[in-house]
Symmetry: D2
Subunit: 192 residues, 4 copies
Amino acid sequence: MRQPGQSREGVRPVAQEAPGPVPGVVLPPRLLPGQMKAEVVRLLQSRGVTLEAIAQVVLAVQGHYFVNLTLEECLLAVEAVVEKREVQHAVLTGAALDMLAEQRRLPEPLGAILRADDGLYGVDEVMALAVTNIYGSIGLTNFGYLDKEKLGIIGELNRRKGGQVHTFLDDLVAAIAAAAAARIAHQRAGGG
Amino acid sequence: MRQPGQSREGVRPVAQEAPGPVPGVVLPPRLLPGQMKAEVVRLLQSRGVTLEAIAQVVLAVQGHYFVNLTLEECLLAVEAVVEKREVQHAVLTGAALDMLAEQRRLPEPLGAILRADDGLYGVDEVMALAVTNIYGSIGLTNFGYLDKEKLGIIGELNRRKGGQVHTFLDDLVAAIAAAAAARIAHQRAGGG
Amino acid sequence: MRQPGQSREGVRPVAQEAPGPVPGVVLPPRLLPGQMKAEVVRLLQSRGVTLEAIAQVVLAVQGHYFVNLTLEECLLAVEAVVEKREVQHAVLTGAALDMLAEQRRLPEPLGAILRADDGLYGVDEVMALAVTNIYGSIGLTNFGYLDKEKLGIIGELNRRKGGQVHTFLDDLVAAIAAAAAARIAHQRAGGG
Amino acid sequence: MRQPGQSREGVRPVAQEAPGPVPGVVLPPRLLPGQMKAEVVRLLQSRGVTLEAIAQVVLAVQGHYFVNLTLEECLLAVEAVVEKREVQHAVLTGAALDMLAEQRRLPEPLGAILRADDGLYGVDEVMALAVTNIYGSIGLTNFGYLDKEKLGIIGELNRRKGGQVHTFLDDLVAAIAAAAAARIAHQRAGGG
């Protein structure tokens, strides 16, 4: 990785502070935060995942501990998770790998590993861990539980047939749900 | 770990929703968020670390990339980091281990390992990683750099003589600085 | 952390290469690997955990996938996990924190947080994660599942009464079991 | 992720124990460990990275602490790192993303983010962390240092022009070097 703020040529990214383009400095075509979120929500939907379906998983896993928890509060938490840049980057990357594996456009043996959802391939879990941890390490337990029990939409992704590949997406959805659950736990306790 | 919101006896912590004590349910004596932060700042100071000293490390490492960065902006970022519960818990735990090692009140061989700051002991880095990551994985590079180069207060902690033990604290301070740097990078980019 | 191989005073640890003591260089009183393992096994037993009990958890979680898996193979995997220095350091540290919390010898509010096993305290999970990952990230799912379902000895630790504190140990035992399960999965697949 | 050993249809992978194909169970086309390593070495070379170049980075970073360390010992450590399945999977995945970004075959905005090596994109660091940690958390400091200082081949990857993308590979190479350094530190201490 380049250092945050560092441009490709090692020049300070003054363009971020100053108006107007700076010759020779190619800045990342960064979407505005709101655009990026909309793009990620659209991508999730195109892969069969709505934020509501994720919120239902959150309610299933966290409703035991907070009796008055509503689907609406869960949905707000999922929305907040998807606003985080770390989460957006993980979803963009994981979903792209799934789609390219489906379309047989990945180099081998990577494509075959992803299409088989090889149990010894752990990059999907590593990427999910970064999402799980955005509200701290207490999300870890729920992630592991959801990844194994495959509640709701996570199980649907896992069962899909017909050449669909969701090797990354099922973990990422479990991780988003686990992060939303952690957010709710922190908020209910007052602070964060 | 118990699940968030779960009490020692597996009873739902209704006391968090309902007024008044519930017989038989012992709730954690949770400090209010503001009290907790004050406690952590006081603890850091008692170990020779001010938030200003951490802010100076942030400025040293991030000033290269953002030319108009001020010490004041760095201090605000450090303050925000120390408001996070994940960070507070890590500092309380790491500083307690350092102090107990100093006072020879840890069981052996753990005490000796901490007093020698054994290079093969990695629990300090693991705990620091949880702090580093509160604004996402981009803090990782700065953490490793600071942990090796030992700029400013980190180097002072590392050089202290006379029986002082800072095996955990030097890593935790590097991690707080790295997290603050990540926060600044995200904010400067607008969002996050 | 000091760099591996670096002594307290920044002097190169030539004593590790050369015979005889080097004046002025205090080396960590490192136990031999075999001694360290025996010490960790003894410590686990003193806290009520045998390697056999952990092996039973491994069998319960991994027997679904490998029909001919035996308790003996699980025990060998647990033994291999406990030989890893990363695991030994985590157990020494976590068990010491549990015991000091029991004996009310930790500074407050840390002692109270550990005695209550506060669901928002995540340092135990962070430390467990380092153990879980010694055979790669595929251990993560089993860790989360075990930490939530609390099979076998993990549930026993969690239910113990009478002032016993196992805030760290229940997570560490789940992590050792998850790492052993990952080791078995890699070995069955031939390599890794 | 599917559980290790679990097949796509939830059927137990008896085919791994029994000779002959099992109707209806599609097993991952797993390469033998030796084939996989050769494939990864070939892929690294096609991207301009030899194991020798990585060994030189290890020597540069670890030679300070172990005066009699040789390039040969560093190369053996790098070879051992590249034999780990976790590392192989990370390299296959990261290099594929770099190459697809170069060829403009990734969906947008992901392709643009990778081509710009956006400093706020942290998936590369997350993936590198999984490599760094294969010999425990003591690799973390060296990874961060190498990722910032960009010694040797890491700097070369970072400076390459002409449309080449090494957003993942420079971090992965730093991580392989850091893991090799951790392996050497553990071995020199006798065990691990």
